[in-house]
Symmetry: C2
Subunit: 454 residues, 2 copies
Amino acid sequence: MIPLRTYLNPDEMPTHWYNVVADMKNPPAPPLGPDGQPMGPEQMGAIFPMNILEQEMSSQRWIEIPEEVRQIYALWRPAPLCRALRLEQALGTTAKIFYKYEGVSPAGSHKPNSAVPQAFYNKEAGTKKLTTETGAGQWGSSIAFAGQMFGLPVRVFMVKVSYEQKPFRRSMMQTWGAEVFASPTNLTEAGRKALAADPECQGSLGLAISEAVEEAAADKETCYTLGSVLNHVLLHQTIIGLEAKKQFDKLGLYPDVVVGPCGGGSSFGGIAFPFLADKAAGDKRANNLRCVAVEPTSCPTLTQGAYAYDFGDASGYTPLMKMFTLGHDFMPPGIHAGGLRYHGASPLVSQLTHEGLVEPLAVPQLATFEAGVQFARAEGIIPAPESCHAIRAAIDEALKAKVTGEEKVILFSLTGHGHFDMASYDKFFAGKLEDFAYPAEAIADSLKHLPQVG
Amino acid sequence: MIPLRTYLNPDEMPTHWYNVVADMKNPPAPPLGPDGQPMGPEQMGAIFPMNILEQEMSSQRWIEIPEEVRQIYALWRPAPLCRALRLEQALGTTAKIFYKYEGVSPAGSHKPNSAVPQAFYNKEAGTKKLTTETGAGQWGSSIAFAGQMFGLPVRVFMVKVSYEQKPFRRSMMQTWGAEVFASPTNLTEAGRKALAADPECQGSLGLAISEAVEEAAADKETCYTLGSVLNHVLLHQTIIGLEAKKQFDKLGLYPDVVVGPCGGGSSFGGIAFPFLADKAAGDKRANNLRCVAVEPTSCPTLTQGAYAYDFGDASGYTPLMKMFTLGHDFMPPGIHAGGLRYHGASPLVSQLTHEGLVEPLAVPQLATFEAGVQFARAEGIIPAPESCHAIRAAIDEALKAKVTGEEKVILFSLTGHGHFDMASYDKFFAGKLEDFAYPAEAIADSLKHLPQVG
């Protein structure tokens, strides 16, 4: 009988992260500077330490997880692989559904998997302070936790409207000792400019990024941290899929489909890449493996975007990255899948999608909440809105299997719990959420502003 | 080396609950009816099913956990036994600190340990609907979850002021399919009376209890559920301590001190009683075992109350129970240890305190939040305010051991996470929380209203 929960012993935790770059058909397209020329680590050294930039550029297949990082991971990892037996029964499916549960971390999501090594490498490189931006606070709270673990002060620029309307993740960051500022602030040139233009400015994620980057660039001992998109972040997240593989080995099973929500791409890469490694290595079990990246129809980067060079931020401060993008000035509507509103996607996930190894799927908002509620009523755990996207796709796969009678094995990533997102559930129950599919013309319009490269 | 986390395999989950009544020096004092005579199950049958009342009155030492209950427990149990190594290092103590973490349940606390069997036994007895009251929503959400697991509709009367000011646990209950009403309602006589007297009435826990009990009493197929105080609730919670004992066996260790927060008494009984069983059985390891029940100085039931017969509710509707009490019309100030504001304590915990087997301790509010923040910064998990009481006492024990150099083993119960309590942390950081020790004269005054018995 398959147990409802499969654990790994602490000493079975993976000792290395997996770098998908080593197995890609083509080398990743390099980031470009303002001059259109490839950027090297030295140009990004103003805001990141060199040891992290080396990881960012690395093509080494296995990278050792430092002992100090594993000691902090051990506060909640290895995370359980769970069988959703009651959900299967509720669906009457012949499929077996499994989920890897990342909500067991102190911050309640997968984000600390990268926050912890980022804090560690910064500490090791002599960084004295970390900065970052945060919207609703998921990444900010993870880096606040991670900084505290290594005694590294953290400054979080939190979009003002969230700072005021969503105080609970702010309290969480303060509990872990971080300084949290409502952005725009008077601490930076970018903030002062915004406040001079509009003293009542409510802030934006783009502006908060500018403030955090400016502080890091202005001080040699201060560095900036980012919670998704970049190669090293996806590298760190592969601990998710590597653990899942070990757990499936214990059960003598292998997934037919791996499903993850996809915004910036870190949780999706984290669960999917280690299975793509098997495919690259010619492992027969992975021959027909499908990896499905699920995004909202309101921000359909992988399904409707262009695969092109674009800026990572709204203001055009970052290097140009080759990725699926809706255009850097694309403005997603106020849907509730907080983490899935990014205009672009990780260059690695983008390239693998372009090369046909990742299957993108867009799902509408109401269907994701319906799936989340169905999941909570069967399995107990209330999922984060981001995770509901993966649940929707997993349920639909299971329903297809029901029709064909296949005993398909489905794995999805339950990236976090929804304890700080109950206001979204509230709106869902009150009938105040709507579906929104971004019109093709609007996307075509914002794609006109893509920077011209080469 | 002691691992940071000790798990049990699913098949190592205890199969029986432990009933401390079997090992008590004196039989428990019976509940009394309005006439001052002992009450039997038949008189309480209007609101509870007979199978639960049999457990309430049982003196059998081991009671089997039904297979159906274990299947739901398996969604999150066995819960981990964690070593607080980073906290030990921060304190510089020679003591070893362990905690049993109950925040891994879907509702985020230990409460589902009893909600699940209560829902199961009601289902088995033919109950068609459950009612309950809830303040901030911890118990209400647990019974909403449990009812959903067995397909049993749940009605929750939630104190109106909480319903309006703390909507997130309400959304949680709705996610699990429960009907939640702001109490007072027009659905009951008690509610209508309160609204007639004051249409703006904000409700109280006592009033919500009256509404839930009235609905249960009025309909043969509706039963009432309670989240603490009663014997069967404490019985169900012993799964906590029973698992912890198995986990300590794996480590070859045994605690010198067991610490739990104590309001109604269910989480404290849950972790402590199984260790008292060893003491009763003459197990030498338990010879010098101390069991410390920690309460707030603002509601010092066990340390300042009288051991006497009193009503369980504010209005005097319930049977009289022999317990430590501050008087049923005692009104605790608005402190933030939500679950620890009850005027009485479980009759079983009270009797064991009276007989010297449980050591009560009162701690002030600010010191508990300081301990909670120190714990979060060392261990990651942000604890519920109730749990912070146990953490305070555990830290103080560890600091004492530091002075004497003892290698004491301390176990405490981390009854839940604080994700729904961040507003309290917010107030703590803003300096808006105060200490409050209830004045002895005020207690003496409310004790004058104890009912006269025998």
